[in-house]
Subunit: 173 residues, 2 copies
């Protein structure tokens, strides 16, 4: 089997988000001040407008994308510390009050291949740049791929998730 | 900017699908015999059971994943011809009766970084193997990542897509 695969940048994210998501302090549970910070972070990200700039040499590669309401931005977290992973289980979102889960059961950016995938609203297209809403990528993130969000393929109406992942969200809404 | 990023296999797909999706013959439109072949292909893939085997050295990485009904399998199409792409616009699914679209407006496997992403039903977990339904990856595909399908994040209820992508599907149902 092929052991290594090489990716090349196809573009870059321009975003007002300059810093990573806040991580909780303290060993047990999270306090109201952390919840407050996280709540405002998520609220902000949901509304935030970013630009995904595709390199102009990929001529024509965005043709027709404006017909989709949503797309996936597939990107590489350029600021993430990349050393080998020592443990394959993590507290979801650093929350020590939630038992550890396998990395593949979470959306943690720190994973064997840090390919991050964000579904976002496509607000507009201008030349080789995509204007998107709700992208959680940091400014300067390396774009690897763009895919259309195809409702009959990607929208799974009977999908369900565990209680802890709902709690992570309810905490901040 | 970092120009190259390296991925490493985290597992392999075991699937009864040994051959790529059929491509249409002829220059204009597609005949009923092609539609028939495609229809039976899609019907088959939707029901098909595959195994995603994660390398055992990634101990614990699947912990808790059984609590999700659906997951994304992120994989590398090991049989795809990988040379440089000469044109960034393609006829969707090789259908010459549909005008060319940019690769990023399609789910074509032949793209600058061939990272393929399939949402599938998680039927069960056995040790370090995931039993999934509906995976369109060929047998031997290289697994890069697994992510949970998180309904409040991935299920976009107000998403819409162009007519041509609906037609591609209606043709085969």
């Amino acid at each position: 089997m092929q052991e290594e695969m090489i990716l090349r940048a196809v573009g870059v994210v321009k975003s007002p988000i300059k810093e990573a998501i806040p991580v909780p302090e303290g060993e047990n549970g999270v306090g109201e001040s952390y919840r407050k910070r996280l709540r405002s972070y998520f609220k902000e990200v949901k509304e935030i407008i970013s630009w995904v700039e595709i390199f102009p040499e990929l001529e024509g590669i965005l043709e027709g994308i404006e017909e989709f309401s949503h797309i996936f931005v597939i990107y590489w977290p350029h600021l993430l510390q990349m050393g080998p992973i020592e443990e394959y289980m993590v507290h979801p979102m650093g929350r020590k009050d939630i038992p550890k889960k396998g990395i593949f059961a979470t959306l943690s950016p720190r994973r064997p291949n840090p390919i991050l995938i964000s579904p976002v609203r496509l607000v507009g297209v201008k030349g080789n740049s995509l204007k998107v809403q709700g992208l959680d990528a940091l400014d300067g993130s390396i774009v690897l791929d763009i895919k259309p969000y195809v409702p009959h393929y990607h929208r799974i109406s009977d999908s369900s998730s565990p209680r802890w992942i709902k709690e992570l969200r309810e905490d901040v809404e």
